[in-house]
């Protein structure tokens, strides 16, 4: 099993949300994903990175780490921050639940990651940070 991996470390700024999802999409070109699969993965990456910036770091500048590994037709994406963390991960993952309604957050971030990827694991520790692991198999629709 041959793996291919890339890592990105970038500032927690909203302008980098686009950079992160486009970089992942470019990295996955070799797997020949469909446009649909690519859109799903880009959305999931965007949600995870946006969460790290808005919630993890509360829009204070810091670093977001993104790891992307591919093997065979599988993609694993990890998004990590050293932010405030989540006390109740289960609650945070409920659709429409948001701690920032004043910013018009829809509360659909985790729901989208879950819907658009095959697997989603979230681990978090208050005061330490949050780690989101997402996996998807490319070509599963054929």
């Amino acid at each position: 099993m041959k793996t291919n991996q890339m890592q990105l470390i970038f500032d927690a700024r909203s302008v980098n949300e686009c950079f992160a999802r486009v970089a992942v999409a470019a990295f996955l070109t070799d797997l020949n994903p469909t446009l649909d699969e690519l859109a799903d993965i880009k959305t999931a990456v965007s949600e995870a990175v946006t969460n790290a910036i808005i919630h993890g770091y509360q829009s204070k500048e810091n670093k977001v780490r993104l790891y992307c590994t591919v093997w065979d037709n599988n993609v694993e994406i990890i998004v990590e921050d050293d932010g405030v963390g989540i006390a109740d991960v289960k609650k945070a993952m409920e659709p429409f639940y948001t701690t920032k309604p004043e910013l018009e957050r829809s509360g659909m971030g985790f729901a989208f990651m879950d819907a658009f990827m095959d697997e989603l694991e979230v681990t978090s520790k208050p005061g330490v940070g949050t780690k989101v692991v997402m996996r998807k198999r490319i070509g599963a629709q054929d």
Binding site: C18, A39, T50, E104, S106, M108
Partner: protein, 107 residues
């Protein structure tokens, strides 16, 4: 103003940017709010013909405008959704809150 728009009171058409994520959602929200303050608008139409990407941040902007305009008996519409944007609308239930105008041909 970064946002492309057209005002014909009581109608406001806003062209949603190519990428509607958290970054662009904040810009769009501020500019649309400004337009809603300056003009008497009853119908706000978001045109997605130039939009290739949207995530959950975009949902917040649309629901927020729908709520605010709803207080003044206004209505928010969306048109020209591509396949990806339509999927986001359906997955979030946004298609039940925002009126989707479908007579125009999709790209």
């Amino acid at each position: 103003m970064q946002t492309k728009y057209e005002v014909q009171e009581p109608n406001l058409i806003v062209w949603v940017p190519q990428e509607l994520d958290h970054h662009h959602a904040d810009i769009l929200r501020g500019e649309v709010e400004l337009l809603l303050h300056i003009h008497r608008i009853r119908n706000l139409i978001f045109d997605f013909s130039e939009t290739e990407f949207m995530d959950s941040s975009g949902i917040g902007v649309l629901i927020g405008r729908s709520r605010n305009l709803g207080y003044q008996n206004g209505i928010v519409y969306a048109r020209n959704l591509n396949q990806h944007v339509e999927k986001i609308f359906k997955a979030s239930g946004l298609d039940k809150i925002i009126y989707i105008i479908s007579e125009e041909t999709k790209q």
